[in-house]
């Protein structure tokens, strides 16, 4: 029987395939989720120049403990949780400093300089606000909004309850709204 192409397998099947020795499965898992992890890190306040290293370190950490991934939580959400922990460690080492570079940022193209400036300002404010949220609020909010994860999946990933996840999301939204008014 022919070996299935990694691209046709689910995350759980890829994880099993990698653990059985298929390195292509690891490459597929990284390819599938690297951008999402990078966006998550960027949104939580990581500096643009650090995104590549932080993303790589997140995957290295994840694969070192791949056997601890509970298949009931989405692999991407699990990765984001590891990314969040890694970023927290980085902040701790930097003694709590949160540095968000103000140049060369990811912003939509636009011809109107005033509009572009305003968009940059809004994104800066929003990233700072997200970075300053309590950790669970931040992670619930980003898993919900960037990954489209349901509360049940978020609760499993972050080891909390569905009700608590809803409350964290509600509080996060309430605080973040103020940053973009």
């Amino acid at each position: 029987m022919a070996t299935p192409e990694p691209g046709s397998l689910s995350d759980a099947e890829l994880a099993l395939a990698y653990q059985a020795g298929d390195e292509r499965a690891a490459t597929e898992l990284v390819t599938r989720h690297a951008r999402a992890v990078a966006r998550y890190l960027y949104s939580t306040g990581a500096g643009e120049s650090d995104i590549d290293d932080l993303t790589q370190e997140t995957f290295i950490r994840a694969f070192r403990r791949l056997d601890t991934w509970r298949g009931d939580a989405a692999f991407r959400s699990w990765l984001c949780s590891i990314a969040g922990n890694h970023l927290k460690d980085q902040y701790r080492r930097a003694k709590g400093r949160v540095v968000i570079p103000i140049d060369d940022r990811d912003l939509p193209d636009g011809d109107d300089p005033a509009q572009l400036f305003q968009a940059r300002e809004t994104e800066d404010r929003l990233r700072r606000a997200i970075a300053s949220l309590p950790r669970l609020q931040r992670e619930v909010f980003l898993l919900r909004v960037q990954e489209g994860a349901g509360y049940q999946a978020i609760a499993r990933t972050l080891d909390t309850t569905e009700g608590a996840a809803r409350v964290h999301y509600h509080h996060a939204v309430k605080r973040l709204k103020e940053s973009i008014r």
Partner: protein, 172 residues
């Protein structure tokens, strides 16, 4: 519109921002008239697309290769900075334990002062809990053999307060 309509609409925002669903006509009309929902929709849609260009610059093939190299090696990749932190940590713990156990065993001539060890302290902030435990374990099996004498305490016998004293001693 009632609060329930707002709640339903807000619950659907992530899926719509990610292109997995669309607004119904009623929902679209509601969005034109509810300022709170408009603000939340702006927040959700901004966040849903945030960082897309940054993510495009990430190279998954290179990351995958780094992951595989790490796994083939089977040992954690430790940065130079981290190794330095480890080394500083080991030295600092040794110095602190000399202070504590030296004191327990009697006055030691010319023993190092807290200020002497203090410069190393902040490096220990960089260590994970598990790494600190490893440092202590290592000292138990190596340096402590030199220090230990009959009747003296071991690290395992220290109370929490005494361990905190050890930490404070090297943090100055």
């Amino acid at each position: 519109m009632t609060g329930t309509v707002c709640d339903t609409l807000r619950d659907r925002m992530p899926d719509i921002a990610l292109g997995r669903a669309e607004w119904s006509d009623d929902e679209a009309r509601h969005l034109e008239s509810c300022a709170e929902c408009v603000t939340e929709w702006r927040l959700v849609s901004l966040t849903a697309t945030m960082g897309a260009a940054v993510a495009d610059r990430v190279d998954p093939a290179r990351i995958a290769e780094a992951v595989l190299e790490d796994r083939r090696a089977g040992t954690p990749v430790v940065s130079i900075r981290r190794r330095a932190a480890w080394a500083a940590g080991v030295v600092a713990v040794a110095a602190a334990l000399l202070l504590v156990f030296g004191g327990l065993l009697g006055p030691a001539p010319e023993s190092p002062t807290t200020a002497d060890a203090g410069w190393l302290g902040p490096e220990l902030d960089d260590l994970e809990t598990t790494e600190l435990i490893l440092v202590l374990d290592q000292l138990e099996t190596t340096s402590m053999d030199v220090l230990y004498q009959p009747g003296a305490s071991s690290v395992d016998e220290l109370e929490t307060g005494e361990l905190e004293d050890v930490l404070q001693a090297w943090e100055g």
